[in-house]
């Protein structure tokens, strides 16, 4: 079974190769679309823009070569993860990005846990207590949260819980100048993580709550639930052991699809909270017009999505053994045949910052 899974993951990754190739091509031409080339940027920075100096830089970076030669050398570099040079940081782009990867992963993992956990909980409560004020409150909360811009949630949390009630720090990942290690350092980072992770999870929590509610309502109307009731099982057992497990599947499907959108959201959240991950790096690259770095981040985050999608596909087969490994995965749709396909389709339209 595990050998099959390994082969399957490999297949999925190979399937993603043309997409990665397409991103490389798009990136290459985007750089050339930008007004001015690297030589002009560098010459402008050093203050001396004599034609000889510009020609020297162009020769040094191969900018005087014909387009196809430039493209081939670009491809060759990408293959060994050489994504160019960040003129602003005076370093290779790849190194800069890999350094920040873990920080963003921490933020996204925390947000994923919060949003999926509370989304399932709130959605299930809203379905079980359908047509009560608790359910109405949860539904209203989800509708309003669904319409709120991420960065604004972050700023409101800062005003409330960092300025008005000084419980949490406004920015950064640890206390400036602190040299704590081990457990105390972990606690410090966790303290800084609370507000950014909450901010990033709010929108997705609303999405999963809506999805979980409709999925749970649908499941509770199914025949096997009636059978369980007829058998005289306690209501709690029916909800937790029978309904919940089946209703969770569409939520997990959606959570997998949302990784790509969450990466976009992290740019906003990280620039609001100064969380030093990929998003903040992108924000800084934007401001210093460091296009090499920006495109490198774009490229790497796309690869991350391809990898995550492959992993998510395998996770489904573990969660739901009915899904076969050999077939092309029905990931974009609900794997649960009678799930709320309409809701999932409509929600799939929504992928936002």
């Amino acid at each position: 079974m595990w050998a099959t899974r390994g082969r399957y993951v490999l297949g999925r990754l190979i399937h993603g190769l043309p997409i990665i190739l397409a991103i490389v091509v798009v990136n290459f031409f985007l750089i050339r679309l930008a007004p001015g080339d690297a030589a002009q940027v560098m010459a402008g920075e050093s203050g001396a823009a004599s034609p000889e100096y510009m020609a020297q830089i162009r020769a040094q970076f191969g900018l005087d070569q014909p387009m196809y030669v430039q493209f081939l050398s670009y491809m060759k570099n990408i293959l060994v993860f050489d994504m160019g040079y960040s003129f602003r940081h005076s370093r290779g782009v790849a190194g800069l990005i890999f350094e920040r990867l873990g920080t963003t992963a921490l933020l996204m993992a925390a947000s994923m846990v919060i949003s999926v956990g509370f989304g399932i909980l709130l959605g299930a409560i809203a379905a079980v207590r359908d047509r009560t004020w608790t359910a109405n409150l949860i539904v209203t909360f989800a509708i309003v949260t669904y319409a709120t811009p991420l960065f604004w949630v972050g700023l409101m949390l800062i005003i409330a819980f960092a300025i008005h009630l000084p419980w949490f720090p406004t920015s950064g990942i640890s206390v400036v100048g602190a040299t704590t290690t081990g457990m105390r350092h972990a606690l410090d980072v966790a303290h800084h993580l609370v507000l950014p992770a909450l901010t990033l999870s709010f929108f997705y929590m609303a999405l999963y709550t809506r999805l979980m509610r409709s999925s749970m309502l649908e499941t509770l109307r199914m025949d096997f639930i009636n059978t369980a009731r007829a058998k005289g099982l306690a209501n709690g057992t029916i909800v937790y052991r029978h309904a919940l497990r089946n209703a969770i599947l569409p939520v997990l499907t959606m959570a997998g699809v949302q990784v790509s959108s969450m990466l976009g959201g992290s740019v906003i959240v990280e620039s609001v909270f100064g969380w030093p991950g990929l998003g903040l790096l992108a924000f800084e690259a934007l401001f210093s017009r460091d296009l090499n770095l920006l495109l490198g981040i774009f490229f790497l985050s796309s690869i991350l999505v391809v990898i995550t999608n492959a992993i998510v596909d395998v996770v489904y087969t573990i969660v739901d053994p009915r899904i076969e490994l050999r077939k092309a995965p029905a990931r974009r749709k609900s794997p649960f045949k009678s799930g709320p396909s309409n809701g999932a389709d409509r929600n799939a339209i929504h992928a936002k910052p």
Binding site: W152, L286, L294, F298, I349, K352
Partner: protein, 267 residues
């Protein structure tokens, strides 16, 4: 659509925002950039919604920002709907190689992180309003194309479509007269939600400083107000509420449209 209270609330809210946008030149003839009052004056004092760091009336900024938000939202959604319907419709109707190629392309657009994609496009091409609209449309049309394709496939196998084919109708005529009206309700609902998404996208881009520097937008106001967040809460809070209410109104209308147009799919 007005049968549900949510739909009615949404419509009223949207009409209010649209009225504000249309009436901006009459309500605030000085424009959003005029420094009329004392800087940092709180709401309900000198001005209804207070002033910003330069003494500009925030209410004027909200009214002029409404124009940009609505224009970007509706124009981007229109481009997305037209592009998604044409591409998804052709792929679904003809199938085969065209379909396979289109599916590959949409897969590409669904894999790239959309917001980062939009940032890259605007950063490279420059911060102008058409570029912002274009960037939002380019990164968001793929899910709609897939949705339309799926709907078209389900309609084209119905008997009435086969009957038209047997009668010798042209492909174009079948697509426009037989299939399009049957997928129109799905397109309308998805398109209305796209307006909301596009408005959120635009506010995010201008918050990051990628908006057109010569245009007052809600996202820009929030981004600028950040510097004074410790002393002047209203500068970031009020434009955010404007975004929230506008997006909320469109989502409510979208939900009401869905219930009215697709009664079978009621969830």
């Amino acid at each position: 659509m007005l049968r549900t209270p949510q739909g009615a609330i949404g419509l009223l809210l949207l009409l209010f925002v649209a009225g504000l946008a249309l009436g901006a030149p009459w309500l605030f003839p000085e424009g959003p950039y005029d420094m009329l009052g004392t800087p940092f004056s709180a709401p309900f004092g000198e001005f209804l919604l207070g002033t910003d760091m330069l003494g500009r009336d925030i209410a004027a900024g909200i009214a002029y920002g409404a124009r940009i938000s609505l224009i970007v939202g509706f124009v981007a959604a229109l481009v997305i709907v037209v592009l998604g319907t044409v591409v998804g419709g052709v792929a679904g109707y003809y199938g085969g190689r065209v379909d396979a190629a289109v599916m590959r392309v949409t897969e590409f657009f669904q894999t790239i992180p959309t917001f980062i994609g939009a940032i890259v496009i605007v950063a490279v091409l420059g911060s102008t309003l058409p570029n912002v609209v274009g960037a939002i449309a380019i990164v968001s049309w793929a899910p709609l194309a897939r949705l339309v394709r799926a709907e078209v496939i389900s309609v084209k196998n119905r008997e009435y479509t086969s009957a038209c084919l047997a009668l010798g109708m042209s492909d174009m005529r079948i697509m426009l007269v037989q299939i399009l009206p049957n997928v129109l309700s799905t397109i309308t609902v998805a398109g209305s939600l796209m307006v909301a998404t596009a408005i959120l996208f635009e506010s995010g881009l201008s918050f990051l400083g990628l908006g057109d520097p010569n245009i007052m937008t809600w996202g820009f106001m929030i981004g600028a107000g950040r510097a004074a967040i410790r002393t002047a809460w209203w500068m970031v809070t009020i434009p955010g509420i404007a975004v929230l209410l506008t997006v909320l109104s469109i989502n409510l209308i979208g939900d009401a449209l869905n219930e009215a147009l697709n009664p079978r799919h009621k969830s």
